[in-house]
């Protein structure tokens, strides 16, 4: 069995923590990495404060195979991600000629003012990540992939890096509706299944709509036959309980 490939997501931006903008990037990255067989293990949202970004980045990059960041790479004063990443890695940061060349695909030379040139500041040793939407690139340094916060741009950047990522075995997922049974009625049986297949991640997820709960059981694992067997055991237990 191959080792899992793991990742964390770091969302950078006051606008998420103030509630102004509702984050859509974590859920997107979670789905996307899942398709690649990469496990998203943790996510954090921090404000536009350099020491917070540096601390989170250093904690996460030591712990996971990849760290994906979103936000804070634009031309305005509150866009401080690139400098924070350079600081976290302890490397210099300067205008990157490759990034300047990309910006010149969008802006006339006379429009490439100091603010826009800030978007070409790339930590030393980083590779660029293409931005087909608006040219200003993201970058990849060590195991950290730095992307824009605007979802359309972030998604395009993810497409650019995906082929270069080390990927794992994709999870097999089975979802079973409890068929009206409340969680408390099947919890013991489900716990027994989970104990029998400890290599699987088995969860029970209630949702609430129109005054009632609906419960779904989700089985996830890298061995399809184990997921199928455990799913069969869950369905049999539910049938017996509903009987």
């Amino acid at each position: 069995m191959t080792a899992a490939v793991t990742a964390a997501m770091l969302v950078i931006g006051d606008e998420i923590l103030s509630g102004r903008t509702k984050d859509k990037n974590i859920g997107y990255v979670a789905d996307y990495l899942g398709q690649l067989g990469i496990d998203l293990r943790e996510a954090r949202i921090v404000a536009d404060v350099e020491e917070h970004i540096v601390a989170a980045l250093n904690a996460l990059r030591a712990r996971y195979d990849y760290v994906f960041t979103s936000g804070g790479i634009g031309p305005t004063h509150d866009d401080i991600t690139a400098d924070a990443v350079a600081k976290a890695f302890g490397v210099p940061i300067d205008e990157d000629p490759r990034a300047i060349a990309l910006l010149l695909q969008r802006h006339k030379p006379e429009d490439l003012n100091p603010a826009r040139r800030r978007m070409a500041r790339i930590p030393q040793g980083a590779d660029l990540v293409a931005n087909p939407v608006s040219k200003a690139p993201g970058f990849w340094i060590g195991n950290v992939i730095v992307m824009a916060g605007v979802p359309a741009v972030m998604q395009a950047m993810l497409d650019d890096v995906a082929p270069k990522l080390r990927t794992g075995v994709r999870m097999t997922v089975e979802t079973i509706d409890s068929g009206g049974l409340p969680e408390g009625a099947y919890a013991a049986a489900l716990g027994a299944v989970a104990a029998r297949w400890p290599e699987l991640a088995i969860g029970s997820y209630p949702s609430y709509q129109d005054g009632g709960f609906r419960n779904q059981i989700v089985l996830r694992g890298r061995a399809p036959e184990a997921v199928a067997q455990a799913g069969e055991a869950v369905r049999a237990a539910l049938a017996q309980l509903r009987h």
Copy 2:
């Protein structure tokens, strides 16, 4: 000037990290706390793994006035939040008679099986948080408020604790559309305003729709007159640039 009241949010659950469930609680809590004048400063999402929950909780509760958690307090084997919180605080955990009494409002005594009784496990010294939706309570220990993951239930629990929270001065927020100006055109002027009012949080937020960017500038601060003055300065600068 009164000190800010700060908070962090800890979302607990494999289902968020796998992408199965898209988190709605962080954005809701951000808005809600903002209305109370409490600053959400950080958010984390961790898996249903005890040591990860304990580590995140201990990091966050040391750093912020309040920590709000959502997820992991149901009756199934993957609901391990209460035990993790007890471990983080180093206190015993056991069935709480107050919680049992609440569960008996929903379940007949003969239906209160061991799985459902798990929902009455409350760390020693905690206060209960009411759950008007489905009775099983959350709890409040130290500066940590433990809530359900189902949004409708979490929101009701937040309503229960809100009157008891120490609150701050609500932020005054002003949002100014750039009126078609790209970020790179106004970044220098905006940076100058931000430097002149360092006590404000001033951000520039692009969104992308129908092939184009729309930019909004947001000014946030606890002194309404400073927000108004800085807003005036931003509008004047934009008008001049559009001229």
